[in-house]
């Protein structure tokens, strides 16, 4: 089910600007990898390179090698949509489709990819909403607009939408930064559960969150503005937070910079 993501010498550009350089990372299946680091160091850029979302922007491109279970994500004959179906994504701000009901939002990925059978859709909807801990709150009003939910519910709706297509890997870019502490806790619990099935990569600005939910932590940083972001240290989360081997990591974690 869950798959291993491996990055070898990955660099990403916005036009002529190099945002990240030479990233080497292995993200293990059925585990949570946290990406931390100061703003602008390229965490989002790296994350978006993994499911080929980076290239959506005009002029943006990726160099280096990214593989999922040793299959090249950027291979010549690889179908982008297949990659994205395999590697789901949850964004910083909840983005439910405003014209769709809760139900349609959850099964959007299935419906738009050609699944028609009502019973299949119904089952997938319930399963995804249960997995996202949202079923109890919304099962009586599935036909109401998805945009009418609270921020935290909308984010869980987006998580349900992402996992309804049964991806192997789930990318999360600061999924809790727009949420209140209660919703954040609900999503952290959810991440711990999802870990049993998926490979999860999460960007977070919250050290405690990284420490709570992740198995391994990657620390990114930049020298100065305009320089590309680099991977400084990558290790077991407990090691990164108790006994980092690089001084810069320690400074960042203890709040001395960033």
């Amino acid at each position: 089910m869950a798959k291993r993501i491996e990055a070898v010498g990955v660099s990403a550009y916005y036009g002529a600007f190099k945002a990240i350089e030479g990233i080497n990372l292995v993200m293990e299946p059925k585990s949570v990898t946290a990406l931390i680091g100061p703003s602008g160091c390229g965490k989002s850029t790296f994350l978006r390179s993994v499911n080929r979302m980076h290239e959506v922007l005009p002029g943006a491109r990726v160099e280096g090698r990214l593989t999922i279970d040793s299959q090249d994500i950027y291979g010549r004959d690889v179908d982008v949509t297949a990659v994205r179906r395999l590697i789901g994504m949850v964004f910083q701000r909840p983005n439910p489709f405003p014209t769709m009901s809760i139900y349609d939002n959850v099964v959007a990925g299935l419906k738009l990819n050609g699944v028609r059978r009502r019973s299949t859709l119904d089952d997938a909807c319930e399963k995804a909403l249960r997995a996202a801990n949202l079923w109890n709150e919304v099962h009586t009003r599935l036909s109401r607009p998805g945009a009418g939910l609270s921020g935290g519910q909308q984010q869980r709706l987006c998580i349900a939408r992402a996992i309804a297509v049964e991806p192997q890997v789930v990318l999360m870019d600061e999924p809790c930064s727009a949420l209140d502490p209660i919703s954040t806790l609900a999503i952290e619990d959810l991440i711990s559960e999802l870990k049993n099935q998926y490979t999860i990569i999460i960007v977070t600005h919250n050290m405690q969150q990284a420490a709570r939910v992740s198995d391994r932590t990657a620390f990114f940083s930049i020298e100065k503005t305009g320089d590309p972001g680099r991977l400084i240290e990558y290790d077991e989360t407990t090691r990164i937070f108790t006994n980092p081997s690089v001084k810069k990591t320690e400074d960042y974690i203890t709040g001395r910079f960033g």
Partner: protein, 341 residues
């Protein structure tokens, strides 16, 4: 260490407010003074318009003075600005109200069954009856076909510009000429038909539809597109199922503006459909009337019965466009909001 200073900004939450009756009194005073000055004494030549403008200006001055004294400067500025905004609104509404009032005043003269089920065939300058049935058919067919041509072209063109291409204006024009120009004159001779009018009208409508659709598509947040891509949905399907439905109400507004404009257009229809006093259901052959051409005909006709027909036709045209617009808005709103399970 504590020092006592006079606060420069008042920390009191409760301030003195001007009661509603004081505003009424100010308004009444301004009106009375203006009537006395401009209508009574005939200052500056007098007249009702000057009196009305004078009343508004006097009210603004009076309001700012009274409000400054009672509530202070900030509240006074707020009141004057509010009053100015309302005045501007009323001013903008005046021409509309005037047009509607004129239409209803003069347009109801021929609002009878005859008008809606008879053409102008065999009606001479001395006949009081005759109707606009043929013109209504013409307008519906011409504007309808023009819309059928324009909406797909305009929306697809806008999608191309926003989602795929850069600087695509020429592309659309070329495409348009390619598709449409052979139909204008199949045998090299010009001929009159409602369809020719539709083509002419769609040339007029295309920029409006394309531009407004373009703006609406640009308003759809990139986050929605990315949310769809992240589910493995291909780009074309994302545009069709996510972007277009989100932008639909705005696109419909743009289309209806273009339809209204086309339905009111006279000159191109006159040139290529010519106009006709007879009922002609076939948009592809022979001259065809439209409501705007009908209005033009009747308004310039020498018959004493013609002006009444022209006014009623104008009222009919406005009512028709209004009905279509409201219907389209209701439909698009129902489609976007209540797309239930």
């Amino acid at each position: 260490m504590t020092t006592l200073t006079t606060p420069t900004i008042s920390s009191a939450l409760h301030v003195r407010r001007l009661p509603a009756w004081a505003i009424g009194v100010t308004a009444a005073g301004a009106v009375a003074l203006s009537v006395a000055l401009f209508s009574g004494l005939g200052l500056l030549g007098g007249g009702p318009v000057l009196t009305a403008v004078g009343a508004v200006v006097l009210f603004l001055v009076g309001l700012s003075v009274v409000s400054t004294v009672v509530e202070g400067g900030r509240a006074a500025r707020n009141r004057v600005a509010t009053a100015l905004v309302y005045s501007a609104f009323v001013l903008a509404l005046l021409p509309l109200v005037s047009v509607v009032a004129t239409l209803f005043g003069k347009g109801t003269g021929r609002l009878d069954a005859d008008f809606f089920n008879h053409s102008m065939r065999n009606i001479t300058a001395f006949d009081a009856n005759g109707g606009a049935y043929h013109a209504i058919i013409g307008t519906l067919e011409q504007a309808g076909i023009a819309t059928l041509i324009t909406v797909p072209l305009g929306v697809l063109g806008a999608i191309y510009i926003v989602e795929y291409g850069r600087g695509a204006g020429l592309f659309i024009l070329a495409f348009w000429i390619l598709i449409v120009s052979p139909h204008l004159s199949p045998n090299g001779r010009p001929f009159y038909s409602g369809f020719a009018a539709s083509l002419a009208l769609s040339v007029l409508m295309l920029p409006t539809v394309t531009r407004s659709t373009e703006e609406m598509l640009r308003l759809v947040p990139a986050a929605l597109r990315e949310g769809s891509y992240a589910l493995g949905v291909p780009k074309w399907k994302t545009i069709l199922r996510i972007v277009l439905p989100t932008a639909l109400p705005g696109i419909v507004t743009g289309v209806m503006l273009a339809v209204a404009r086309a339905a009111g257009e006279t000159a191109p229809v006159l040139l290529v459909a010519l106009g006709s006093p007879r009922i002609n259901f076939d948009p592809f052959h022979d001259p065809q009337e439209s409501l705007s051409v009908y209005i033009y005909d009747q308004a310039t006709s020498a018959s004493r019965y013609a002006p009444a027909r022209a006014w009623t036709a104008a009222l009919t045209l406005v009512a028709l466009v209004l009905t279509l617009t409201v219907a389209a808005k209701l439909l698009s709103r129902r489609n976007t909001l209540n797309k239930g399970k």
